[in-house]
Structure formats: structure tokens, C-alpha cells
């Protein structure tokens, strides 16, 4: 892959993703739904196949060559992913099924031990349901209080009364990047304020890790969850990083094989980190596949990934507003430096389902829904939006295709006036 230092060679990258050769409705596939799930490069598919073809066996059990090889490769992938996010030790990185499960792990295991009636969890108004419902469940069970951080007219968190809001708070839960607005939140600033008032910080980084160079130590957080399928890896692998002393003080989450040192008919002893939180057979080939995805992204360079997406987001915001004027309403920060490549919009009052259906005829994949963030949608006063989201394999031609197809959608439903 030849590339200049500052930018990605998207034409070459597109060739690495076999699905982008698929024809949809007789035309090329324009995939603009990576915030929902990313596509997979050939390298990841090859590595997973190679595991099944040459070294597949269950891990941490068999005393034979291929089992030892599978175990070593899975643990090497853990070390690689840990290094990718700046985690000091691989044993602090727990694998589960997705980021939803990882946040549930924190709510059940840490939450049930540490949160009692009247304790406060502070969340933001731009959280995904995955970082709301586990806390609502704990509220029903324990009588904890939920408090909310709102955002301003430029879709940035309103931190003007953060200190008062933190009063009595035991845990702050926030998204590092909104899956609807694209807002990049000031995680470090909030973490410092939270720690100063004695609260811990949980970050939902599902939209952040795939698109930004990440260092959990620099972010200064306590719990950090993300998911493999949004960062070019396979489905079925969620990740949770937390400081070892926190994880060690927490009771296990799911019980079963792998997570014990001893089981008697009257009790059990959990095993050491990270396996204490990994009951049952893990998704072995998928974890190794996630390691391959990290290799692919590191080869591109995360700083270049971020720069590419910042430039393409700027292009998209400019193109869509210049072409469609008042017809398009974009919900998210105006400055591409404050946001990631997630662009939520409403188009000429046409329902997002209908917009998405017509875009599909042009091979364009966008998400049309409440994006699993209903409290945010209510706050915005809309039922649903369309969302176009970009990644390393998108370019200006994809944005142009979206813009053209939007004009066509307007003609289809409202007649042939451009505005």
C-alpha cells in the first residue's frame, strides 16, 4: 500500500475489502454504515480461516500442540489489543461478546458491590441504550439515582455545572464519541473532575477506538469498553479494560468453566485475571481475527485514519449543506475537529425509513432509526434520523453518491424541486 505520510490511499484500501466488489441493485455498493458495524479486510478473513484450517482447538485446556498454539495465538491477540489502547497489562483486558455485555459486566459486578440506595450514577444525554439500560435496571433493583449531563446548541456536553452535578456521584458513564451526533467528548477533563470528587469513570468507547489513536492511561479513566466488529474485526468480541486493582476487587460476572481455580459441591474459587471474567469457551478465532484487524489498522496508522476521517467529514458537511441548503438538517457539531465521521441528518421532512429505502436503490447503505439512543432522540425532538458514517474505505465519491441520491429521493417523494 503506497501512501503519502499524511493521508490514506483509499483506492488501495478499497481493494482490501472484498464486500466492496458486491453489486447491489445493479450498481456498486456504497457502504456508509460503519458506525453500526464495519466491513472486514481480506487479511482478517484469511487469518481466521487459517486458524480453523491449521491450529484450531479449545484454549487453556488441551495438552497438545494445536491447543497450545491456539492458546498462544489468542493470548497474543489479547496483548496486541491491550497495547493498541495503551493498556499497561494484557491481564487487564477482558473479552466478552460485545460492548453491551461489558457494560453489563460493570453494572452487575462492580455496581452490585458498590452501589446502594441513593447512590448516584451520572450519565450523558447522548448515551447509547447499552450505557443506559443496565443502570436503569440497577435503579429498579437497588434504588440508585440517575443524573444526566445535557449538551449545548453545538451538541457539546454542557460542563458549566459539572461540579454540582458530581455531588454524591459514585460513577460517571459517558460515551467517548456519540454514535448519533459524532461529538467527541472531553473524556480527560470529565475524568479529572470525577476523580476529584471521588467518582469512578466508565467510558463507552465503541465509536472512539476504531477511529482515534487511543491511550487509556492518557484518558485517565477507570472502565473502558469497546467492540471488535466496529474496528474491522469479526462480530462476537467485546473488550473491557479496567485497572487491575478494580477488577481484582470485583466479584465474577458469569459463572462456569474457565473462570475458576476450584469448584466443590459447596463453593468455588474464581481464577486470576483476565479469565475470572471469561466464563465458558471464548470466540477463539474471532479474538485472533480482532488481533489481525488491529495489525491492519496499525499498518495504516491511527493518526492517519483520524486525519482521513476528519477531512472526509469536512468534505461531507460542506458538500451536503452547499447542495441541499435548508433541505438538510445535520445534527452534530459544526467543526470537524470536534467530531467523528458520523453524520446524522433529516432530509426535507421525508421520514428516514423512506430516505433509506430510496438510497438503497442506489446501493447506498445508511442507518435510519433512533440509533439505540431514544432519550437522545426525544431530547432532539425527532423520532428518528438518517445516519451516514464513514471509515477507512470511504472517499469523496461515496459522499457524492449520497448527495446525488438525496436529490433523487426528494424528487421521488416531493416532486422535482431541488429545495
Amino acid at each position: 500500500m503506497a501512501m503519502t505520510p499524511a493521508t490514506l490511499d483509499v483506492a488501495a484500501i478499497k481493494k482490501d475489502f472484498p464486500i466492496l466488489d458486491v453489486e447491489v441493485h445493479g450498481g456498486r455498493l456504497v457502504y456508509l454504515d460503519s458506525a453500526s458495524s464495519s466491513q472486514k479486510p481480506q487479511h482478517v478473513l484469511d487469518v481466521m480461516n487459517e486458524v480453523y484450517e491449521t491450529t484450531y482447538a479449545n484454549v487453556h485446556r488441551g495438552v497438545y500442540a494445536i491447543a497450545e498454539e491456539a492458546t498462544a495465538r489468542m493470548e497474543a491477540a489479547r496483548a496486541k489489543v491491550a497495547r493498541f489502547i495503551g493498556a499497561p497489562a494484557p491481564r487487564e483486558l477482558i473479552f466478552g461478546k460485545n460492548v453491551t455485555e461489558m457494560i453489563n459486566l460493570v453494572a452487575h459486578s462492580w455496581g452490585r458491590r458498590n452501589l446502594h440506595e441513593g447512590d448516584v450514577v451520572l450519565l450523558t444525554m447522548m448515551e447509547h441504550h447499552a450505557n443506559i439500560v443496565p443502570w436503569l435496571m440497577l435503579r429498579e433493583e437497588r434504588g440508585i439515582e440517575l443524573r444526566w449531563l445535557d449538551f449545548d446548541d453545538d451538541y457539546q456536553l454542557d460542563l458549566s455545572d459539572l461540579e454540582q452535578k458530581l455531588d454524591g456521584v459514585k460513577l460517571v458513564g459517558l460515551s467517548a464519541m456519540s454514535n448519533v451526533l459524532g461529538t467527541l467528548n472531553p473524556v480527560r477533563q470529565i475524568a479529572d473532575a470525577a476523580h476529584a470528587s471521588g467518582a469512578l469513570v466508565l467510558v463507552d468507547a465503541a465509536q472512539y477506538v476504531p477511529h482515534n489513536a487511543t491511550n487509556v492511561m492518557e484518558l485517565g479513566v477507570d472502565f473502558f469498553g469497546f467492540t471488535g466488529h466496529k474496528l474491522l474485526g469479526p462480530t462476537g468480541v467485546g473488550c473491557l479494560w479496567a485497572r487491575a486493582e478494580l477488577l481484582e476487587a470485583m466479584p465474577p460476572f458469569l459463572g462456569g468453566g474457565e473462570m475458576i481455580t476450584d469448584v466443590r459441591i459447596d463453593g468455588f474459587e474464581p481464577t486470576e485475571l483476565p479469565w475470572k471474567f471469561e466464563a465458558g469457551t471464548p470466540p477463539i478465532a474471532e479474538i485472533i481475527g480482532l488481533g489481525a484487524a488491529v495489525d491492519y489498522l496499525e499498518h495504516l496508522g491511527m493518526d492517519r485514519v483520524r486525519e482521513h476521517e476528519r477531512e472526509l467529514t469536512a468534505y461531507a458537511l460542506r458538500t451536503l449543506t452547499e447542495r441541499h441548503g435548508d433541505g438538510i438538517v445535520i445534527q452534530g457539531p459544526k467543526d470537524p475537529g470536534d467530531r467523528g465521521g458520523v453524520i446524522s441528518f433529516s432530509y426535507r421532512g421525508i421520514h428516514p425509513h423512506d430516505v433509506s429505502q430510496v438510497l438503497d436503490e442506489r446501493g447506498i447503505c445508511v442507518r435510519a432509526s433512533h440509533h439505540c439512543a431514544k432519550p437522545l432522540m426525544r431530547r432532539l425532538g425527532v423520532g428518528a434520523t438518517c445516519r451516514a458514517s464513514i471509515y477507512v474505505y470511504n472517499d469523496a465519491a461515496d459522499i457524492d453518491a449520497l448527495s446525488d441520491a438525496l436529490a433523487y429521493t426528494g424528487e421521488f417523494f416531493l416532486g422535482n424541486t431541488e429545495r
Partner: protein, 158 residues
């Protein structure tokens, strides 16, 4: 592969642009029932005035896509002035037309639905048949009908 013209028939777009029976009724005496599509966040409110076994008036509010809005509009026109039994037969027939997937999940045979379709005249509503080719959109089309069924149940127990 089905095309957009299978889904967006002209009569559907007409009901979408000019929805019939849009508005509210005082509840009580009317029944007020809310319906939600959890996939897309569509919301519908059906107001239903039932007396002496007859649907005297229907009004619809809420927000949704062209399929859910036009289906609700056509539904309101179709059941207004009908007896409750006729309205229920219409619901069964419409859901039968839509329920290639749903009715099988609920274990109802397709024969019953086919028979109903022959007995009950769906009229304009048949324009929505193309929705079946777009499985994700079936829930849009059936949202108002499920809400109406709830309203009729509510009226019966009131």
C-alpha cells in the same frame, strides 16, 4: 429484485401526502391507544369512538414513514362506519395479507388468511401488498392495525 414502484404505489403516496382522519377525539368517551415501532421509533395514536357495536369515528395522530402513515390513513377510512365485527375481520384480512412472516410465527395457517382475503374486500388497501416484498417494512404497515386491535379490545372491556 423488487423495485421501489412495488412499494411506493401512487395511492400510498397520496394517502401519505393527504392523510385522512388526521386529528384527535376527546377520550373518554373515545378510546385512545398508542402504538410504537421499536425499530424506527415510529409512534401512532389511534382514537376510536365505538357505540352499539359500531365504529362511529376514528382519528389518527403520530409520526412515521410513508408506509405506516398511509396504512393508518387507509385503515381509518376503511373501518369508519363499520361494525366492530367487520373491523376485526378487516384487521385479520389485512394482517393475513402482510403476515407471510408474522402469522407463521404465531402458528396460524395460511389457509385461514387466504380464505379471509377472499371474503373481505380490502379495496385500496391491496396497494400495500407490495410491502411484503420488503420484510423490514411489514411492521410499518401493521403498526396502526395492531394499535386498532388494541383499541377495539379496550372498547369491548370498557
Amino acid at each position: 429484485m423488487p423495485g421501489l414502484e412495488d412499494l411506493y404505489r401512487e395511492i400510498i403516496l397520496d394517502h401519505y401526502r393527504n392523510p385522512r382522519n388526521r386529528g384527535e377525539l376527546a377520550a373518554p368517551p373515545a378510546q385512545r391507544v398508542e402504538g410504537y415501532n421499536p425499530l424506527c421509533g415510529d409512534e401512532i395514536v389511534v382514537y376510536l369512538l365505538v357505540s352499539d357495536g359500531e365504529v362511529n369515528d376514528v382519528k389518527i395522530t403520530g409520526q412515521g414513514c410513508s408506509i405506516s402513515q398511509s396504512s393508518a390513513s387507509m385503515m381509518s377510512a376503511a373501518v369508519k362506519g363499520k361494525t366492530v365485527d367487520e373491523a376485526r375481520a378487516l384487521i385479520r384480512a389485512f394482517k393475513g395479507m402482510m403476515s407471510i412472516h408474522e402469522s407463521r410465527l404465531e402458528g396460524e395457517g395460511d389457509d385461514a388468511a387466504d380464505q379471509l382475503l377472499e371474503e373481505v374486500k380490502l379495496g385500496d388497501l391491496e396497494a400495500l401488498q407490495g410491502v411484503v416484498k420488503f420484510p423490514v417494512r411489514i411492521k410499518c404497515a401493521t403498526l396502526s392495525w395492531n394499535t386498532l386491535a388494541q383499541g377495539l379490545d379496550q372498547a369491548a372491556s370498557a
